[in-house]
Structures are given as structure tokens and as C-alpha cells.
């Protein structure tokens, strides 16, 4: 089973690398020559790193799902090409971040041999998660960029603690909920058709809601706030199998959103330009208007790599990178990105379905939901399906914090899938042994 999966993985990785290199070549050739040739070595580094990651999986998790790494590699590679194409000066840096990310991926596989081992540190993870989430609020450490206080600076290192915070909180919640699920699920009263959890057990839910609101209000970070709350809700819902939690959470979300809309100008602005960016085309709606023009210019087949005009798109290497891709690769390229994310989420959920360890199951589902929702929030924000919340596009956007955190997340999914495949094989082996 293992070697077959690894061969598939290698084949898909090579395929992804060919696509990436092809797009890169198109962007750098031709008369527009928007990419200088001296960036080619960096592309080589990025693709080489993915090969290293593959070799590490061969050694460290030989029976893991073969789709995860190639999908992440394709997203990372395409993202790299469009970062380099939009802003040459970031190309080398993103190659370095990719190296750090792949190192973190391999490191996680080495350190975490069994997911169960992590359960022991659940409260540590919980504290780390909350600490990271609130770190930007510490004076002298956190600072504001473009209106959101989501960065911290410790010594020479600058990073967005929200990205690792998501991981730590997912680990904590999965572990905490596995333990408490019976209690949360059974202690309930019936009101009409819904069985409502006992008020005493609503504490955690309200706490999570309060945290989200705090992050939204103090850091003005709508994206992280929403993702954190969504992660919590999804995990509680899956763990307890009670739809009542889903309904309650939606009510809490609606309440929080309404209050935020009433109280905060920046929330109101986001909603206003989501509904009608055209009236504010010269002001707050500028980003969305220019994005719509970029997408329209791309049309079905795109302008071609290197032949678009990403110069007008703001934050084009981070939050709005999807607009650059959809302009130059068109609807086809945009849909390919959507499909890649959906396949990634699907692989993650399949891993969650297959494993029998409840902690692993919950964690895999939570991590998959994180990636899927984060990509949905930012792509949906860029193309006006939902109001814009500034989060990165996993694996694609420029930025070290996000890339490293997502590679660690990927490693955890790889580890869960490897463990579960081994268990299945062992059991089948035993059964075969018993029959013999």
C-alpha cells in the first residue's frame, strides 16, 4: 500500500512542478518578459524543496495519503510564480519561507510520531493558542498594519501570531472536546424540536464567542475572529453531534455580527462595499472594483501568465493574489485553484472519516475545515461572495507565518493519515493471520 501511494504522490508532485514551471516559463518568456531570468534558481529551490518533502514523507510517514503534499505543492508553486511575477523583490524571500515551511513540515513529522502524544499537552496548547491570539495587543510587541493589529515584533522576528494560534487552538479544542463530548451531548433539555444543551455547558461556547469578539474589536481582525469561531463551532458540532449547537452558534454569530455592524465603522465599511463597491470606486471600494476589472480582463482563458496588469490590484501578493491568478489564468485557472482547495479539504475529511481515534478524527476534520474556510473567506471576499475579511490564501499568498503554519497543519494531516493506514493494515494482517 505504502509504496504505491508514494509513487502516486511523486507522480502528482512532478505533474504539479511541471505546471508551475510551465506557467513560470510563460510569464518570463515572450515580449512582455515580466520575470527576469535571475529568478529561475529560486523556482528551482521551491520545486526542489517539494521533492525533499516527498522524500521525508517516504521515510517518516510512508503510508500517508498521497494527495495532500502534491496539492499543497501545486498551490505553493503557483503562488510562488504569481508572487514573483507581481513583485520581484519578494521572490527570494518567499523561497526562503518555503524552505522554512518545508523544514517545519519535516520537523513536525519527525517530532510527532503519534498524535496521541500531543493530547497530553492540551492545556499548554490552549494557553499558547489564546496567548498567541492576544499577543498583538501587548504594547510594544504588537503593531498595526493597514488598520488591523495582527502583527507582533519580537527582537528581529516579525510574524502574525494568528496563524500558529489557529493550530494550537485546533489541537486544544479537539482534545478537550473528545474528553467532554459525552457531557456536552447528553446534558440537555428539550425545548420544542431542539434539544438544548444545559446552560452550565454553554460556558465554553460563550467563552469562544467572547474571544472572537475580543479579537474582532481590539485587533480589528475580522478574518481571524471569524475563523476561530467557525473552527470552534465545527468541532463542537461534530464532537457532540448536536445540531442545537450549530443553531445556537449561528444565533450568536448573527448577534455578534449585528452588534459589530452597529458599533464599528470598519465592519460597516466592509459590508457597504461588499453590497455596492461601485459607489465607492474611488475610495473604500477601490480594491473590489479593480479586482472585478482584473477578473473581467482575464475572462475565460485569462490574459496569459505575465500578460495581465496586476499593478492596479492592491495587496496583490497577499490577500488579493487570487485576483492576479484569475486575471492571468482566467476562469479556468481560478476554477483550478478552487478545485485544488476542495480536493485538499476532501482529502483531509476522508482522513478524518477513516481514522478510528476520536482525537485524530476531530483534529483532522477541524484542520480541513480551517483550510477550506480560510480559502473560502478570502476568495469569497475578493470576488464579493462574502464581505472582505483580510486573511491569507493558504499556501498561495506571500508570507512566512501563514506558509509555515499551513505546512505544519499539512504535516499533522499526513501523520494522522499514516497512523490510520498502518492501524488498518495491522488489523487486516492480524485478521489474515487468524484466518490462516
Amino acid at each position: 500500500m505504502g509504496p504505491v501511494r508514494r509513487t502516486t504522490e511523486l507522480g502528482l508532485l512532478v505533474l504539479g512542478a511541471l505546471v508551475t514551471a510551465g506557467v513560470y516559463a510563460l510569464a518570463s518568456l515572450g515580449r512582455s518578459a515580466s520575470l527576469p531570468a535571475n529568478l529561475v534558481p529560486f523556482l528551482g529551490i521551491v520545486l526542489g524543496l517539494l521533492l525533499v518533502a516527498h522524500l521525508a514523507v517516504r521515510r517518516l510517514a510512508p503510508e500517508a495519503d498521497g494527495l495532500l503534499l502534491p496539492l499543497a505543492g501545486l498551490l505553493n508553486g503557483l503562488g510562488y510564480v504569481f508572487i514573483a511575477r507581481s513583485n520581484e523583490s519578494l521572490a527570494a524571500l518567499q523561497a526562503v519561507w518555503t524552505a522554512v515551511g518545508v523544514t517545519a513540515f519535516i520537523g513536525t513529522l519527525i517530532v510527532v510520531r503519534r498524535l496521541r502524544d500531543l493530547e497530553r499537552y492540551r492545556y499548554t496548547f490552549g494557553l499558547i493558542g489564546i496567548g498567541l491570539l492576544l499577543l498583538p495587543l501587548v504594547p510594544g510587541v504588537g503593531y498595526e498594519v493597514n488598520g488591523a493589529r495582527i502583527w507582533v515584533s519580537i527582537g528581529p522576528i516579525n510574524f502574525q501570531p494568528g496563524e500558529p494560534a489557529k493550530l494550537a487552538l485546533a489541537l486544544f479544542l479537539a482534545s478537550y472536546l473528545v474528553e467532554r463530548r459525552e457531557l456536552l451531548a447528553t446534558a440537555s433539555r428539550r425545548i420544542g424540536p431542539l434539544s438544548v444543551p444545559d446552560p452550565r455547558h454553554l460556558g465554553p461556547l460563550l467563552l469562544a464567542w467572547g474571544m472572537s469578539v475580543l479579537v474582532m474589536v481590539t485587533e480589528k481582525d475580522l478574518g481571524s475572529s471569524l475563523l476561530f469561531f467557525a473552527l470552534f463551532v465545527v468541532l463542537v458540532w461534530i464532537a457532540t453531534e448536536r445540531n442545537a449547537y450549530l443553531v445556537l452558534s449561528l444565533a450568536l454569530f448573527a448577534g455578534g455580527a449585528t452588534i459589530a455592524y452597529q458599533l464599528f465603522g470598519h465592519v460597516r465599511d466592509r459590508v457597504t462595499i461588499w453590497i455596492d463597491p461601485w459607489t465607492y470606486a474611488k475610495g473604500t471600494g477601490y480594491q473590489l472594483v479593480e479586482t472585478a476589472f482584473a477578473l473581467a480582463a482575464g475572462g475565460i482563458t485569462g490574459t496569459g501568465p505575465g500578460l495581465g496588469e496586476p499593478g492596479r490590484i492592491p495587496a496583490r501578493e497577499t490577500d488579493f493574489i487570487f485576483a492576479v491568478i484569475a486575471e492571468e489564468l482566467g476562469l479556468l485557472g481560478g476554477v483550478a485553484i478552487l478545485a485544488a482547495f476542495l480536493l485538499l479539504v476532501g482529502s483531509g475529511l476522508r482522513i478524518a472519516l477513516r481514522t478510528e481515534v476520536l482525537f485524530d478524527k476531530l483534529l483532522a476534520a477541524g484542520l480541513s475545515a480551517l483550510i477550506g474556510l480560510q480559502a473560502f473567506l478570502i476568495i469569497g471576499g475578493v470576488i464579493r461572495v462574502v464581505p472582505l475579511t483580510g486573511v491569507t490564501l493558504p499556501f498561495v499568498s506571500f508570507g512566512g507565518s501563514s506558509l509555515v503554519a499551513n505546512y505544519v497543519l499539512l504535516a499533522l494531516l499526513v501523520r494522522i493519515s499514516d497512523e490510520s493506514a498502518r492501524r488498518t493494515r495491522r488489523r487486516e494482517g492480524e485478521r489474515a493471520g487468524a484466518v490462516a
Binding site: 461534530i238 473581467a296 499593478g311 479539504v345 478524518a352 476534520a365 477550506g372 473560502f376 461572495v385
Partner: protein, 502 residues
């Protein structure tokens, strides 16, 4: 737990289907609208610092050129050496505000983006070459300068068009502006300049020649007269309108007076020469009637946007509804609810409004065979190797009147110059026909727009120029008459044209 995980997977699929649907909506169904959205300057910005061809005047003066700027953030700068002189025709290319004028309408050719230019031959896929094209205009820099000098600092317009080709020879209006202020690489300065120009009450950004409407006053009598002749109800000998100092149209409360309270009347040549209000009011309201008047104005191009090859040309207006028939057989010699309004409209008052460009087109039609040419500023486009890419031929926009009608009107218009209100336009050795206009704009006789509209050229040949000159009312400076204010400007410009024509 697996059931919920499966449900989560389904929910994710639904969310991504939403993204898929929206992506299709934007990139397929709305793409065309978005690509042509007025706020969409992507193509202009793409071309902002790329190589770009020259814009040249018909007499070879460089009106727009692109120079390399090694010390700037942008590779090249678009320059307008003639400054304000061609601002409202050549326009500008700006990073933030897009492009106007010829820079906008011929953007693809200038920047080498038309399909014919990008891939003229197979080797173009691999080899870099100059794909830009140079646009030569029909506008003449010397004539344009003469118009600027003749108009001076008065607000107004001078339009000169070659009726044989439809090519505009001069398109000057004051106030104007320096397009270099908007095309500069200093985006802050460009923004400040634009704000200042927008806030200026004199509206220097407004191309008065083709984008603004004015009451045409008596110059509109050309349309009324030509419509009457073309319908066969007016000839050089009949009707002969009675001498009168006031015409009271059916249903009107107040009689229409003549200029200066004079009495006048007679046949076509006479009433055109002295610009007789009472006669033309009766001609339009009774002799011709509303249906033919509305049709006649439309045939000259009123109530439609002229197909000028510069964006922003405004339609000239003539009212289309004169109420129900009250008395008579309908059409000519009938009384309508709003016959009084039609009487005023027939002498270019009431709701009649025209651009100077439109009035020059009226003169162009009457100066030739009765057809209105498609007006153009572009004469020729050549690629970098000198090959002609575009060279438009004369096209007819409207058939206004028959050649015979035009001939009849020319006789009357030449009479206006020989012994009427436009005597000052006579040029030795040239045939000139014209019609003046003095249009009240507020009801205050002291505030008037002064017009003269006509054609000129060597005798015995089709005229080489049709023109419209408008001097706008200047409150406090007293009445401006067509003959007194506009005719001398037209004369100066035509004299320069005559000297150039040899």
C-alpha cells in the same frame, strides 16, 4: 461523528460552488460590461508608459509624443508640445484619470494593440519591433492658432470642417487647459491640477465645440428655410411674408419681435439676408408645420449624437412634441396646441440647442450636395514602417436636403454676405455664404450669444470649408451680435485659410 463530517464536506462543496458560480458571473457573463465600465482605465494604464505613436496635425506639427524618462519611475512620458491649443481634441493620457480625446479613441492604434499590429507576421511572436502607429489629424495647427488668436480671451468656439471629406480643420474653444499637467509623472501634481480644473467655474475641461449645447438663435433659420424649400412649400419667389414688426403665433400671448424692433418681410433671399424673425417664425409654425420641422431638424442631425471620432460629442436638440392638432388639415397651414412654441423654435429659440459642431455640419450640408458628412479629426494612421493602416473616406451621416435645395439656400446665404448681416465676411476672390445669429440666453436683451455659420471656397467649386463661430454671452459687457462679434472672428480665420490654400 462521521455523519457530521460528511455533512461538513457537503457544506464545503456548497460554499465552493458559490465561489464557482460567482467566478463565472464575473469572468463570463459580466466580463463585457466590466471591460467597458467607465471607471475601467486598465487599458489606458497598461499603455501609460509603453511606446506610443505620435499625434500629428495635418500641417505636420507634433501634437503628442512619447519621450523616454530614464530618471522616473515610469519608462516614458507623454508630452503635448502645443499645450492648450489641442487639449480638447488630442486630449491627454493620464495615469489616474485615463485618457480623453484622440488619445482615448485611437488608444489601441497609438499603442500598437490592434490585432493587425500585434501579429502582422509569424516572426512577431518572437521578435520585438516597434508596433506603434502615428495618427495624423485633419486639424491644422496654423488654422487652430489663427482661431485662438481671433477669439482671444473671449469664451467661445471656432469649428472649421472640410465639407468634402468631413475632416475637421479647426476645433478650438476657449477656455482650454494644458494637458501636460494631467499626463505628468508627478501623480500628486496631476491630481491637484485636475481638482483645480474641475473646480474652475470657466470649465476649461469642457470641449465647448462638441460637448456643450447653446441656443443657436437665428443661425437655425438655415434649417427652417432649407426644410421649407426641400418640402416644396418655400421657393425663392414665394411665399412673400408681409412686412411686420411682430408675429403673433396662434395661441401665443406675446408677439415675436424683430431685432431692434424693425419691420421686415418678403421672400426667402430677403428675409434671410436681414434675418427676419417674424417671417421665419411664421414659415416654421404655419408654412412648414411641426411634422416637417421635426423631420427636417433630424435630417440635419438634431436629436442624435454626431459620430465624431472623439468621445463625448453631445447631441443637439430640437423639440419633438407640439401638441394636438387644433385647426386645419394637419401638417402645413394648421394650428397646433403649441404652435407658439414652434414659432419660437423655428428661429432657434425656446428649447432648441445646438453644439457649434452641429451648426458647422448644417453649413457643410448646405455648402455641398445637401448631405451631412460624418465628422472626423483623424485623417490617416500609419505604422512605424510608414504603411497606411487607416485612411477614412468621406461618409454621409445624414441626407439633409436635396442638392437643388442646397443650391437655393446657397444663393440666399451668399446674399447674406453680399448685402445682409454678414457683410464683414466677404473675401476677395472667394465665394462665401453665411448666416448670423444673435441668441438671447436669459430673456435679457443684453446677454446674447453671437453666431455666424457658413461656408467658403474658391468660386465655381465646392467649398473647402464650412464653419461655425460662437462668442458666448459675457454678462456686463453688453449685447454681442452675430454680425458685430462673430463675423470678424470668422473672417480672420477664413483669411488665414485662404492664404494657406493659395
Amino acid at each position: 461523528m462521521n455523519r457530521k463530517i460528511t455533512a461538513l464536506g457537503m457544506a464545503m462543496v456548497v460554499l465552493y460552488l458559490l465561489l464557482f458560480a460567482q467566478l463565472n458571473r464575473i469572468q463570463v457573463f459580466q466580463a463585457d460590461d466590466l471591460n467597458h465600465h467607465p471607471e475601467n482605465f486598465r487599458d489606458i494604464e497598461r499603455d501609460f508608459d509603453r511606446p506610443r505613436g505620435l499625434v500629428l496635425s495635418a500641417d505636420g506639427v507634433v501634437l503628442a509624443r512619447t519621450i523616454p524618462t530614464p530618471d522616473s519611475d515610469y519608462e516614458r512620458l507623454r508630452e503635448y508640445p502645443q499645450g492648450e491649443l489641442f487639449a480638447q481634441s488630442v486630449g491627454y493620457l493620464s495615469y489616474e484619470f485615463g485618457a480623453e480625446g484622440v488619445e482615448r479613441s485611437y488608444n489601441d492604434l497609438l499603442s500598437g494593440q490592434t490585432p493587425g499590429q500585434t501579429y502582422a507576421k509569424l516572426s512577431d511572436l518572437f521578435i520585438e519591433r516597434d508596433r506603434t502607429a502615428d495618427v495624423t489629424l485633419s486639424l491644422r495647427a496654423d488654422l487652430q492658432a489663427a482661431a485662438r488668436q481671433a477669439l482671444g480671451d473671449r469664451h467661445g468656439s471656432v469649428v472649421v470642417i472640410d465639407p468634402r471629406s468631413g475632416g475637421l480643420l479647426a476645433l478650438w474653444s476657449w477656455p482650454s487647459y494644458d494637458p501636460n499637467r494631467l499626463s505628468t509623472h508627478d501623480l500628486g501634481a496631476a491630481n491637484a491640477a485636475r481638482q483645480e480644473l474641475l473646480a474652475d467655474p470657466a470649465e476649461p475641461l469642457l470641449a465647448r465645440t462638441y460637448a456643450e449645447r447653446f441656443f443657436p438663435g437665428s443661425s437655425f433659420k438655415l434649417v427652417t428655410g432649407a426644410t421649407g424649400v426641400d418640402q416644396g412649400v418655400v421657393t425663392p419667389t414665394s411665399p412673400s411674408y408681409p412686412n411686420s414688426d411682430g408675429y403673433l403665433a396662434p395661441g401665443a400671448g406675446v408677439a415675436i419681435p424683430n431685432f431692434g424692433g424693425a419691420s421686415c418681410g418678403g421672400t426667402l433671399d430677403r428675409i434671410l439676408a436681414v434675418s427676419c424673425n417674424t417671417a421665419f417664425a411664421e414659415m416654421g409654425a404655419i408654412t412648414i408645420g411641426p411634422e416637417w420641422m421635426v423631420q427636417g431638424a433630424a435630417d440635419f442631425g438634431f436629436n442624435a449624437r454626431p459620430p465624431l471620432d472623439i468621445p463625448g460629442a453631445a447631441a443637439s436638440l430640437f423639440p419633438t412634441d407640439f401638441g394636438a392638432l387644433l385647426d386645419g388639415p394637419g401638417g402645413p397651414n394648421s394650428v397646433y396646441e403649441d404652435s407658439a412654441k414652434l414659432a419660437q423654435a423655428s428661429i432657434g429659440q425656446n428649447d432648441v440647442q445646438a453644439t457649434p459642431l452641429e451648426m458647422s455640419l448644417v453649413a457643410a450640408a448646405l455648402g455641398t450636395d445637401g448631405t451631412v458628412p460624418v465628422p472626423r479629426v483623424m485623417a490617416e494612421v500609419r505604422d512605424a514602417a510608414g504603411k497606411v493602416l487607416e485612411k477614412p473616406q468621406r461618409e454621409t451621416w445624414r441626407t439633409a436636403v436635396s442638392p437643388a435645395t442646397a443650391q437655393t439656400m446657397r444663393q440666399a446665404m451668399e446674399g447674406v454676405v453680399a448685402n445682409g448681416t454678414a457683410k464683414g465676411l466677404a473675401l476677395d476672390g472667394w465665394t462665401v455664404g453665411a448666416k448670423t445669429g444673435t441668441a438671447e440666453i436669459t430673456g435679457d436683451a443684453e446677454e446674447t450669444n453671437a453666431w455666424v455659420v457658413g461656408y467658403a471656397g474658391p468660386p465655381g467649386q465646392p467649398p473647402i470649408a464650412a464653419f461655425a463661430v460662437l462668442i458666448e454671452a459675457d454678462p456686463g459687457q453688453g449685447e454681442l451680435t452675430g454680425g458685430g462679434a462673430a463675423v470678424p472672428v470668422a473672417h480672420d480665420v477664413l483669411a488665414v485659410l485662404k492664404a494657406l490654400a493659395g
